[in-house]
């Protein structure tokens, strides 16, 4: 019987293909995926056949979580800053420079009443996520801060969109594909948790409708379209 030749000592493996593989995957992930934005609350979204992308440039978003808490955000640092200034003027709440900077950098949204907002902004990002009662007051009768947030954001976003449209149009010159002005209008997005009570979502919808903003976009994950 032939004797098997056993290598002596520890076998050395050529790691080069493994390095290749690892970096190939790294490259793939870097190019194919977007970074996750730091969201203030975790929301499980329902699925639908909707295939439009979330508008990134001119977004005004209200989030409703499982417990019915309401959060607000809009795109653009400048826009957020201006909206906060207007809210501060209306509700006569003073903000420090630091607070304003924090707010303008908060992309994931916030949930807090105006009177509590300066305190809320001075908290650490992680602490903000752990507040159990953080919500924007949505009272249909008198204390409707959400309506003001949406209203101011809408106005600011219109101005911002107009400026952006003109800027991009000028940049493109005459040769390019004509840009659609609709793409630069504010888009209202509602991100509601699957398990949230619809009544809570409905109060938010009513806020939009009272402001004569009738076209809403529900955030959904994509499912395969049935043919």
């Amino acid at each position: 019987m032939a004797k098997l030749k056993l290598p002596k000592g520890s076998p050395s493996i050529d790691m080069t293909p493994m390095v290749d593989l690892a970096f190939l995957l790294v490259t793939f992930f870097m190019l194919a995926a977007d970074f996750r934005t730091d969201e203030v609350v975790k929301v499980e979204i329902p699925s639908s056949i909707g295939k439009d992308d979330i508008p990134q440039k001119t977004l005004v978003m209200v989030t409703v979580d499982t417990k019915g808490r309401v959060f607000f955000t809009c795109s653009g640092e400048e826009v957020r800053k201006k909206v906060l200034m207007q809210m501060a003027a209306k509700y006569k709440v003073p903000f420090s420079e630091e607070n304003i900077t924090t707010f303008s950098r908060m992309e994931g949204g916030f949930g807090c009443s105006m009177s509590e907002l300066p305190k809320y902004l001075s908290l650490e990002a992680e602490e903000r996520k752990n507040l159990p009662n953080a919500t924007i007051p949505v009272d249909t009768t008198r204390n409707n801060e959400l309506a003001d947030w949406i209203n101011f954001a809408n106005r600011e976003m219109l101005d911002y969109g107009k400026a952006k449209f003109e800027e991009e149009n000028a940049k493109q010159g005459k040769g390019g594909i004509p840009l659609k002005p609709e793409d630069f209008k504010p888009k209202f997005v509602l991100k509601a948790d699957m398990e949230a009570e619809y009544v809570k979502v409905k109060t938010v919808i009513e806020v939009f409708r009272n402001l004569k903003l009738n076209n809403l976009n529900f955030v959904t994950s994509q499912e395969a379209q049935q043919l």
């Binding site: 690892a22 194919a32 509601a192 699957m194 049935q226």
Partner: protein, 209 residues
Amino acid sequence: MAEIAESGGGDEKGKKHGKKGSARIDMTPMVDLGFLLLTFFVLTSTFAKPKVMSLTYPAKEDVQPKDPPKVKNGMTFLISDDKVFYYKGQFYPAGSPDGPPTQLIETNFGPDGIRKILKENNTFVLNKITELKGKLDKKQISDSIYKKELIEAKGDKQALKVLVKTDMKAKTRNFIDVIDELYIAQIGVIAPVDITKSEQALLDEKLKQ
């Protein structure tokens, strides 16, 4: 200096060493680094990009109309907690002189529930779409005409119009599911409206059974 002398100089021993095949580099730390980066990117990235489903609500009029508009070719869905009911046409409460009292029919969110019902009732639009698609494939009509005709077909008198009403116990998921099915069935007119008192009473009765 010593190193340069060693590699380029006439040292017999050093020269011999340099010629002896390519140097083996230990790749293990590089693999570690590669996989570390890989893990980081896998964890911080999102793949399933969320999409949006657009829905236009009827504009709120300052003066509420006295009577709800009469919809001829309509269907109403009533949504409660994970349950969905429907009725066709107008709503008649019990003892109404206009017609027999409305009966709610229970259905489900699955493909043999709402989807089937909508398909059966929206044949006009669905047939029209098949016809238009056939024409489009044969290049008889252009893409823009196809889109225009599609919108026209959806808004036609014979097309099914759907009202969606929810009660206090409905979950967002239920509502989105129904709207989704309406989009699949190519319903042109979708109106999420408030539930009326008599409908709520009928729904409560049905839920108790």
